[in-house]
Every structure is written in structure tokens, then in C-alpha cells.
């Protein structure tokens, strides 16, 4: 299967085309066909994965896409252990979301279209993963962006959803300018965008490393957009306007992880210089802490999870920046399952109570046990509780920071971990425990149907066990499979660090327990005590307002100014030239009539007129003539003296 890896994305594409052109009228057929196709991709991915486990060697194959005598742009696939892991993640989550949506989207008038979009997304995402050149990655990168846009705005009648889709597209596109520029620079400096060729080139050491490094950092900007890293994170929380299964698949588990995936792919480029790696790690750390802190005070269940996603992606990016190829990608792997679970669980809750506001929920555990228990498992996993998945992958990241002596980043990681545990359990307690705060919503709440709860249970199992693959004591674990360079990353298992991380997670949960379950500490009191900070966090550090004031509104202003300039100045010159020509011909016509022709006629008139005037002087009186002579003489003399 490794050699035929390009087949894997094809099945969802077939599904997309079939639904759009053939099946769309039949909702059942559309959804079942889409599910069948994604399941085929899932099976093939597993086969590829098992082969790759046994083999472990990267494979690539390219075909001619564009070529000239002095420049070539081939396209192809590149499959290595990281690809294999990503294929598994994408197909598992996508399959489960496909099934879950049968229940969640039931009765939606655009049900078939939803499955068409899901298929298109899955195709693009799988394509992105198997792509063998950065150009091809960019191609699929934009396509997943498109499907994300379409799905965020799926309920486009809601203005807020349509706005969110546009915001997501434009923000990521802005970041993608970096990707594009980086790619241009890469093609200029290295004359190739093929991943295997580039890796070889860098390893050989005969490459213009400075230029390639700058290209890398520019491309990393694209990764920051897609993975919602600071300062491009603003689009992801808004993206929650999309249907919840979409949030789980695209905006939690897979597409937003594409930036992390790209960064991991560029590991060789990033590690070229210390400064560049530090930039990457710093962006990750800032994002992890900032997003977690915003998550502390939000009330929309999906937005809390969105900030959580941003924060966890920050973790991964930070790990990669610190050289933790294995740690970063491993966290991507485990995070996909528990975060997808959290979102699907949230979807199940929203499906039941028809609100996103956790302040209007409460006590739902009794009504929806499966959702509640699976949600609790995922919460424990993301908080980093032993022995769940999240514990192992988070610990890997701490180990990377600790072993490398990056104590600042370790501190950032720990701070974010504490906040994560707190906001997750704040969310859990407010939603599932205590007394219902909205009686009406509570009374109508019910557990979701099986096609929704079964995916929850499967993901719960994965949220517990997926991380076991990376237990540091394991002989042939994740670290010896997905590794950068030729030797496995072997962090010594550090018991003290593990205990510390458990302690942090535990205290976060404990704090949330005291505030929201036992209520011995009043949340309102804390909010009032730190009012400015609370406001700052509640308003998400005012990033949206900043962007509106600094970028969006000025751009609109500029467009108006340019348009006026175009009409008044440029077109003014054109029309002015025309007017001038018209005026010129008019003036010439007048000149002809009045001056040239006038001169002829005028000469006649003039002599008559002069004659008429002069006739009056001929009075025949001598005194008059003498007087005129005298006045004339006076004037002449006068003029002589004052020298006019």
C-alpha cells in the first residue's frame, strides 16, 4: 500500500463527485456512500500503517507536472512514518465524524451537501498528508481552507456564521502569503520544493542554508495561520459557528493540526539555526499560555474548547521548536482523539439542550450518562492525568523542554497545563454536575442516539489507550517509529517530572472542584477581585478589536480613497483630455468666426467707426485746434520729464 499511497485520498474524492453530480437528491444514499468511501480509506490507511511499521523507510514517487528546460516542478507523494500516523488520525476521526453526523445533522435540509463537503475535506486533508512537495502541500492546504470556509458557513443564513467563514479564510490566507513567499524563496534558493530532495540537499550541507532558513520561517507563518497560532489565532474561536461535527474534525483534530504537520515536515529547515527554532518555540509558548488563559473565563462550550485547541496546538509547536519532533507529533496524535471526543461530546450536549452557554446547563450527567462519562475521560486525558493518553504526550513535551534546559518553556508549559486542567473541569462541572440552571432546557434534554454515542465511546477508548504507544519504557514505541534523523529520541523516563506534571494537573482540577463544585471559593469574588484582568481575558485580549481598528477598517477606507482617486484623478484626466479637445475645437471655431473672419469684416467696420469719430474733431474752429495742440504739447513735455 505504501507505493500506492496516492489511492487513499481518492475514495473521498469519488464520494464528493458522486454526491454532487448523482446522489444529492437522495440523502440516505449520499451519507452512506460517503461513509463507505471514507471507511475504505481508513482500511487502506491501516494497511499502509502496518506496512510502514514493519518497513520504516520513507517512500516517494514523482511525476512531471510542469517543466521547462531550465526549471521543473514535479508533483508526487512522500510517505514516511509521520505520514502513516497522520493518515491513521485523519481517517479514524473522519470516519467517526461521518457516522456521528448521521445523527447530528439529521433533518437538515442540506444534509447531502454536508456529506459532500465532508468528503471534499477528507480528500484534501489526506492529499495534504501524502503530498510529496511543498507546492502540492500548498495546493491541498488551500483546499482544506476552502472546505473549512464552506463548512463554517454551512448555515450561511446566519450572518455570524457567514462572517466567521470569511474571517477564517482571510486570516489564514493572510498567513499563507508567508507560505507563498517562502515557497518562492525556496524555489529560488534550492530549485526544488520536493520534500525528499530538499531533505537530501540539507543533509548534504551544500545548500544556501541562510536563504532556505528564511524560506522556512516564512512558510512557518503559513503554519501559524492554519494552526491558529498567535497572532493569527483569532479565526478559530469564531469558526465554532460551523456544525459541531465539523468543529471536531476540521477545527480540532485534523486541519488545524496541518500547521503542526507542516512544521514537523520542515524540521530540517527549522533546526538549521538556533534563532529560528527559538522563534518557533516562542510562538508556540505564547499561544499555549495566552489561549489557555482566555479559556478560563469563556462561557460558550465550543469556544472554550476552541481556545483549548489553540493552546494545545501551541504546545505542539513549542515542542517542535525545541527540537522535539517526536514529542510534538505525538501530542498531535493523542490530542486528535481526545479533542475530537470533547467536541463531539459538546455536540451531543448542544443537541440535547439547544444552547452553547454553559451557564444555562448543569446537572446533565443524570440525563446523558454516556456523553458525560466519555466527556470526563477526555477531560482527564487533556488535563494530563495518569495513565491516559494526554498524560504521556504532555509529559514527552515537558521532558524535551527539561532535557534541553529550556526552563522558560517548561514553565510556560506547566502554566498552560494548570490552566487547562482548570478550565476543562470548570466546563465539566458547570455542564454535567450540580443543579440545572435552565429547567426548561434540562427537562427536554435526552441522551443522543447510538450513531452519535458509539463514536464517542470509540474515541473514549482511544483517549485512554492511544498514548500508551508512547510510554517511554516501551521498547519499540512511538519514539522509535516517528523520529527525526536516524536515531530514535530516547528521553530517559523522568519520574520526578511525571509526578510534577500530575501534581499540576491535579491542582488545576482540584481548584476547579473547589470553585464550581464545592463552591467554597466564589468565582464571582475572584472575578471582582481581578476585574481588569478578568475583562482582559473575557475580551480575548482585544485582538479582534485591534485587528478591526488597525487592519480591516483602514483597508476599507483605502479602497474608498483609491476608488475616488480613480474616478476623479485618472478618469478625470481622460475625460479632461476629451473635454480639452472639445473645448479646443470650439475655441478654434470661435476664433475662425470672430477673429479670422472678424478681422476681415472688422477692418471695414473699423474704418467706418474711426471715420465717424474723427469727423467730430473737424469742427473748423481754430481755437479748438490750438487747444488740442497745446494739450498735446503739455502731455509730451510732461512725459519727457517724468520719463515714462
Amino acid at each position: 500500500m505504501i507505493h500506492n499511497g496516492w489511492l487513499i485520498p481518492l475514495f473521498p474524492l469519488i464520494s464528493f463527485l458522486m454526491i454532487v453530480f448523482v446522489l444529492k437528491k437522495n440523502q440516505k444514499a449520499s451519507s452512506y456512500f460517503a461513509i463507505a468511501m471514507v471507511l475504505i480509506s481508513l482500511v487502506l490507511s491501516f494497511i499502509l500503517f502496518i506496512e510502514m511499521l514493519a518497513d520504516g523507510h520513507a517512500y516517494h514517487k514523482f511525476v512531471n507536472w510542469l517543466s521547462w528546460s531550465d526549471f521543473e516542478l514535479p508533483m508526487g507523494i512522500f510517505i514516511d512514518p509521520l505520514t502513516a500516523v497522520m493518515l491513521i488520525v485523519v481517517t479514524i476521526v473522519s470516519s467517526l465524524v461521518h457516522i456521528y453526523s448521521l445523527g447530528y445533522m439529521h433533518g437538515d435540509p442540506r444534509f447531502s451537501r454536508f456529506y459532500a463537503y465532508l468528503s471534499l475535506f477528507t480528500f484534501s486533508m489526506l492529499g495534504l498528508v501524502v503530498a510529496g512537495s511543498y507546492v502540492l502541500i500548498l495546493v491541498f492546504w488551500e483546499l482544506v481552507g476552502l472546505t473549512s470556509y464552506l463548512l463554517i458557513g454551512f448555515w450561511f443564513e446566519k450572518k455570524i456564521a457567514a462572517d466567521a467563514g470569511k474571517k477564517a479564510f482571510v486570516t489564514t490566507k493572510l498567513a499563507d502569503l508567508g507560505f507563498l513567499l517562502g515557497l518562492m524563496l525556496l524555489l529560488f534558493a534550492a530549485h526544488t520544493a520536493s520534500i525528499p530532495e530538499l531533505n537530501e540537499l540539507i543533509e548534504s550541507g551544500h545548500a544556501p542554508m541562510t536563504l532556505i532558513g528564511i524560506a522556512g520561517i516564512l512558510m512557518f507563518m503559513g503554519a501559524c495561520g492554519k494552526s491558529a497560532q498567535f497572532p493569527f489565532h483569532v479565526w478559530l474561536p469564531d469558526a465554532m459557528e460551523g456544525p459541531t461535527p465539523v468543529s471536531a474534525l476540521i477545527h480540532a483534530a485534523t486541519m488545524v493540526a496541518a500547521g503542526v504537520y507542516l512544521t514537523a515536515r520542515m524540521m530540517g529547515i527549522i533546526l538549521v539555526s538556533e534563532a529560528m527554532a527559538t522563534v518557533v518555540a516562542t510562538i508556540g509558548a505564547i499561544t499555549a499560555v495566552m489561549a489557555a488563559s482566555i479559556g478560563l473565563v469563556q462561557n460558550d462550550i465550543k469556544r472554550i474548547l476552541a481556545y483549548s485547541t489553540v493552546s494545545q496546538l501551541g504546545y505542539m509547536i513549542m515542542a517542535l521548536g525545541l527540537g522535539g519532533y517526536t514529542a510534538g507529533s505525538f501530542h498531535l496524535f493523542t490530542h486528535a482523539f481526545f479533542k475530537a471526543l470533547l467536541f463531539l461530546g459538546a455536540g451531543s450536549v448542544i443537541h440535547a439542550v439547544h444552547t452553547n452557554n454553559i451557564q444555562e446547563m448543569g446537572g446533565l450527567h443524570g440525563k446523558m450518562k454516556i456523553t458525560s462519562i466519555t466527556f470526563l475521560i477526555a477531560s482527564l486525558s487533556i488535563a494530563g492525568i495518569f495513565p491516559l493518553s494526554g498524560f504521556w504526550s504532555k509529559d514527552e513535551i515537558f521532558a524535551v523542554a527539561y532535557d534541553g534546559g529550556h526552563y522558560f518553556f517548561l514553565a510556560a508549559g506547566i502554566a498552560a497545563a494548570f490552566m487547562t486542567a482548570f478550565y476543562m473541569f470548570r466546563l465539566y462541572f458547570l455542564t454535567f454536575t450540580g443543579t440545572p440552571r435552565d429547567r426548561h432546557a434540562y427537562d427536554h434534554a435526552h441522551e443522543s442516539p447510538l450513531n452519535m454515542t458509539i463514536p464517542l465511546m470509540i474515541l473514549a477508548v482511544l483517549s485512554v489507550c492511544a498514548g500508551w504507544w508512547g510510554i517511554p519504557w516501551l521498547e519499540h514505541g512511538y519514539g522509535s517509529f516517528v523520529k527525526f534523523g536516524h536515531h530514535a529520541h530516547h528521553a530517559e523516563p523522568n519520574i520526578a517530572l511525571m509526578a510534577g506534571s500530575l501534581l499540576v494537573a491535579g491542582s488545576g482540577i482540584g481548584f476547579a472542584y473547589l470553585v464550581y463544585r464545592k463552591k467554597v471559593i466564589s468565582a464571582e469574588a475572584i472575578g471582582a477581585r481581578f476585574k481588569p484582568l478578568y475583562k482582559l481575558l473575557y475580551n480575548k485580549y482585544y485582538f479582534d478589536e485591534l485587528y478591526m481598528a488597525a487592519i480591516v477598517n483602514p483597508t476599507y477606507k483605502i479602497t474608498e480613497i483609491f476608488f475616488r482617486f480613480d474616478q476623479v484623478v485618472i478618469d478625470g484626466i481622460v475625460n479632461g483630455a476629451a473635454k480639452l479637445t472639445l473645448w479646443w475645437s470650439w475655441a478654434k471655431e470661435r476664433f475662425d468666426t470672430y477673429v479670422i473672419d472678424g478681422a476681415v469684416n472688422g477692418a471695414g467696420y473699423l474704418s467706418l467707426a474711426i471715420g465717424r469719430v474723427l469727423r467730430r474733431t473737424q469742427t473748423g474752429q481754430l481755437q479748438t485746434y490750438a487747444l488740442v495742440v497745446f494739450i498735446g504739447a503739455v502731455i509730451l513735455i510732461f512725459m519727457k520729464f517724468i520719463r515714462i
Binding site: 512531471n64 507536472w65 510542469l66 517543466s67 521547462w68 528546460s69 531550465d70 526549471f71 507546492v135 500548498l138 495546493v139 491541498f140 492546504w141 488551500e142 483546499l143 476552502l146 470556509y149 458557513g153 450561511f156 443564513e157 450572518k159 457567514a162 462572517d163 467563514g165 470569511k166 479564510f169 482571510v170 490566507k173 493572510l174 499563507d176 502569503l177 507563498l180 513567499l181 515557497l183 518562492m184 524563496l185 524555489l187 529560488f188 483597508t555 476599507y556 483605502i558 479602497t559 474608498e560 483609491f562 476608488f563 480613480d566 485618472i570 478618469d571 484626466i573 481622460v574 476629451a578
Partner: protein
């Protein structure tokens, strides 16, 4: 000497003009189908042309050459190469599509189709004439039908727009005439290929002046900023099908002319002017996009987007690298297809709603799902979404110009900003038209019909084909472009 396919392509529509004129004014159906037939046959012929084109050589093919006015050394000289073959095909395709799209025309149908077919004669002629005398004739012939098509069948300000278009282009043509005469009196020939072969004998300042004269003539047609203001007026007033031709073919004659005449004939001047041309391209890209964003009229928005998109062509050609020039040619084809489709789609909604004011719509996605889907597809193509031709073209332009020894890199870096601005105005338009609350005023709108889908379908196919498999177009360009760039010896 085989079948004179280029003459056939050029003059077959002329037979159509005569045929249409011979029909009775009231036989509207017959007139339509006659026009369709006389534009369909050249489309078939152009497919044979494409199939028969030898992609391995840059030599001129399908040559037809006959003495015409030997006294002044004028020949009837037609030929095609990688620059013209894709354009000839595009002309045939868009002409046929436009004629089908014109079936809704109700006034003075006979004259309309006669003028339209005459327009096709002029366009075909420009793309295959290799003698300046002939080239100039075709170039001017085109103006007349265009003038009447806008001036008679256009919108409320049609006369202003038609006169502006006519005079502006004519103004440019004068420069071209002077340049042609200058060449003629220097060399004694009007044969373009011969003039290219003799390019070593032009002095430096002669090159600069004649280059500039040709450039002004072509730049007005592209249109290069700041010569672009005739374009939005002409587009807004022109009937739908005429806009399609205007954006799809006429603009390309400008860039075609520069690549056919300016570049190979005056290589020294080309290098000299490469940075100014690139900067004009940059201004076009950014300025066009910004002005597009301010538009409230849908058609005007698409018109200004053409200014922006043609800026990519200018940037790509100014690079004078194989990738850059190919990018320019890709963009010419791609913009023809995509913008042609967008104008058709604007026409579809205008025919139903009798308004093009973007703000008047809203939420149409719920009512017109198919139309919305197709519009979104071409909107995405226009903003350069991968998988479609616009992306490939823009990517080639960027890569080609970034690697160019002739232009400064900051120009390219700034030009990349155009991508985000384009995304901005396209998404804004899509949102205002199709998303949000459905405006119940449009309760009675009907979705796009079969004939209209038929007109945009082939355009979608080419957009996707080139986007997914760019080599399908590149094989035709490659030899010619490599040969063209070789002159500049980089």
C-alpha cells in the same frame, strides 16, 4: 500547402455575417442559429488546429503567404505559434459561447449577430496576422463592431462608454501606426518575422522610441494602469456577451501584442523597460484589487478585478524568464476563461433581477443553490484557489518573476499582497450576494437554466483541467516561450 486553416478560421465568420444579413429581420430564431453555426464551425476548426500543432518546435506553423501589394512590399501572411494557438482556440470558444449567451437579445437581432460575427473576424485575424499591414487592419476592424455592440445594445450610458472605448483605442492605434511606419521606413518591410530577424540593426534610441509607441497602443488594450478607465465603463454598459469577449479576448490582444512585437523586436528596450513594466503590473494588481473592493456594482467589480488580474500578466512578462512569461500566457488564458464565466454569471442574475447592485441581494444561496455553487466555483478560481487555472498562473508569475534577473525582488514581494486583497473582495462579494438572510424581494427568482449552464460548463472544464494538469496548456507554449526568452540570453 495544406488546408488554409488560419484563413478559414478568420474568414468563415465573415460568411456568417453575409448569411445573417441575407436573412429576414423577423426570423429571429433562424438568425440565432445561423450565427451559432457560423461560430461553431470555427470552434471545431480550432480544435483541429490545436490537434495539428507541432508542440516540439517554436517555428511558425500553418503558414499562408501570398504577395498582396508588392509595390509596397505588403504580403498576406498568416501563421501561428505557441503564443497564438491557445488564443485562437480561446477566441473560437468564447465567441461560440457568447453567441449562445446572446440568444436573449431581443432588439435588432440581425444587426447584433452580424456585428458579433464581424468582431470574431477581427479577433482571429489579429492572432494570426504576421504582416503589420494585415495586423493593423484587423486591429482596427475590431473596433467598429465593438463600438456598435456597446453603443446600441448597451446600458444607459452606452454612448459615452462606446465613444470612450473607441477613441481611447484609436488614440493608442495612432502610436502603433507611427511605430509601424518607423519600422517600415527603416527596413522596407512589414513582415513581422523578418523584422524580428533584423532586430540587431535597430539603434538603441530607435528601439526605445518604437518600443514605447507600440507599448502605449498595447497597454491601453490590456489595460495597464493608468490607461484602464475605459474598461469599467465599457464593461458596465456592454451587454453580457460583449463583456465576455471584451474581458476574454480583447484585453489579451494587448499582452499578445507586447509578446509578439515588443519583446522579440526590441530585446534591448525590453530589458531597459522591464522594471517599469513590472511596476506598472504591480500597481495594476494592487490598485485594481483595492478599487474592486470599493465597488457596489457587481459587473464593475468584475471589471476592476480584470485590471488587477491583467497586472499579473504584466509582472510575469516583465520577468523575461521561461516561468514568468509562461505564467503570463497562463494568466491570459485563465483570466479569459474565468472572467468570461464570471461575466456570463453576472448576466444571468441581471437578466432576472434587472439590477447588479451587490447590496440589493443577500442570501441567494438558499434560493438559487446551483447558481450559487457555480458562482462560488468561479469566484474561488478568480481568487487563485489551487486546483484551478488561476492559481497555477499566479504561482508561475510569482516564481518566474522572483527568479528574474531583470526585475527587483521587492516588486514581486509587494505583488503577493494582491492575493489577499483578491480574497477579500471576492469573499465579500460572495457573502453579500449569496449568504446571510434571504432577501424575500427575490422570492420569484429562478435558478440558472440549462442553456446558461451549457455556456459556463466548458469554461469550468478548462479552469479545472489547467489547474490540475497545467502541462496540458504548457506543452503548447513551451517551445515558443523558451525560444522567446533565449533572445535575452539569461
Amino acid at each position: 500547402m495544406g488546408f488554409p486553416i488560419l484563413s478559414f478560421l478568420t474568414f468563415f465568420p465573415l460568411l456568417g455575417v453575409i448569411a445573417v444579413l441575407l436573412l429576414r429581420r423577423t426570423d429571429i430564431g433562424l438568425i440565432r442559429w445561423t450565427a451559432a453555426f457560423f461560430s461553431f464551425v470555427p470552434l471545431v476548426a480550432s480544435i483541429f488546429l490545436v490537434a495539428g500543432y507541432d508542440t516540439s518546435t517554436s517555428a511558425i506553423q500553418f503558414i499562408e503567404r501570398h504577395a498582396w501589394f508588392p509595390q509596397i512590399n505588403v504580403t498576406y501572411y498568416l501563421g501561428a505559434d505557441g503564443l497564438s494557438v491557445p488564443m485562437l482556440f480561446l477566441t473560437a470558444l468564447l465567441s461560440f459561447i457568447s453567441i449562445i449567451a446572446s440568444f436573449g437579445i431581443k432588439e435588432r437581432v440581425k444587426e447584433y449577430f452580424a456585428w458579433f460575427l464581424l468582431l470574431e473576424v477581427g479577433m482571429m485575424g489579429v492572432f494570426c496576422a504576421l504582416d503589420f499591414f494585415l495586423f493593423y487592419i484587423f486591429w482596427e476592424i475590431m473596433l467598429v463592431p465593438m463600438y456598435f455592440l456597446i453603443g446600441v445594445w448597451g446600458g444607459p450610458r452606452r454612448e459615452y462608454a462606446a465613444i470612450k472605448f473607441f477613441l481611447y483605442t484609436l488614440f493608442g492605434s495612432l502610436f502603433m501606426l507611427v511605430a509601424i511606419l518607423a519600422l517600415y521606413f527603416t527596413t522596407g518591410t512589414l513582415d513581422m518575422m523578418e523584422l524580428i530577424a533584423k532586430n540587431a540593426m535597430y539603434g538603441h534610441s530607435f528601439q526605445l522610441w518604437v518600443f514605447a509607441a507600440f507599448f502605449i497602443a498595447f497597454a491601453i488594450k490590456v489595460p495597464v494602469w493608468p490607461f484602464h478607465t475605459w474598461l469599467p465603463d465599457a464593461h458596465v454598459e456592454a451587454p453580457t456577451a460583449v463583456s465576455v469577449i471584451l474581458a476574454g479576448i480583447l484585453l489579451k490582444m494587448g499582452t499578445y501584442g507586447i509578446l509578439r512585437v515588443n519583446f522579440p523586436m526590441f530585446p534591448e528596450a525590453t530589458k531597459y523597460f522591464s522594471i517599469p513594466i513590472a511596476i506598472l503590473g504591480l500597481i495594476g494588481i494592487i490598485y485594481g484589487a483595492l478599487v474592486s473592493m470599493a465597488q457596489k456594482d457587481l459587473k464593475k467589480l468584475v471589471a476592476y478585478s480584470s485590471v488587477s488580474h491583467m497586472g499579473y500578466c504584466m509582472l510575469g512578462m516583465a520577468a523575461i524568464t521561461t516561468v514568468g512569461v509562461s505564467g503570463c500566457l497562463f494568466q491570459m488564458f485563465s483570466h479569459g476563461v474565468i472572467t468570461g464565466a464570471l461575466f456570463l454569471l453576472v448576466g444571468v442574475i441581471y437578466d432576472r433581477a434587472h439590477t447588479r447592485e451587490i447590496a440589493a441581494f443577500g442570501g441567494l444561496g438558499a434560493k438559487l443553490p446551483v447558481y450559487t455553487g457555480i458562482f462560488t466555483l468561479f469566484g474561488m478560481a478568480s481568487l487563485g484557489l489551487p486546483g484551478m487555472s488561476g492559481f497555477v498562473a499566479e504561482f508561475m508569475v510569482f516564481v518566474g518573476s522572483f527568479n528574474s534577473p531583470f526585475i527587483e525582488r521587492w516588486i514581486v514581494i509587494l505583488a503577493v499582497l494582491g492575493v489577499i486583497l483578491t480574497a477579500g473582495y471576492i469573499l465579500r462579494m460572495i457573502q453579500k450576494m449569496f449568504l446571510g438572510q434571504f432577501n424575500t424581494k427575490w422570492e420569484n427568482l429562478t435558478d440558472i437554466n440549462g442553456r446558461e449552464i451549457f455556456t459556463v460548463f466548458p469554461l469550468a472544464v478548462f479552469t479545472l483541467l489547467i489547474g490540475i494538469w497545467p502541462n496540458s496548456l504548457n506543452v503548447f507554449l513551451k517551445a515558443t516561450v523558451e525560444n522567446l526568452v533565449k533572445i535575452f540570453g539569461n
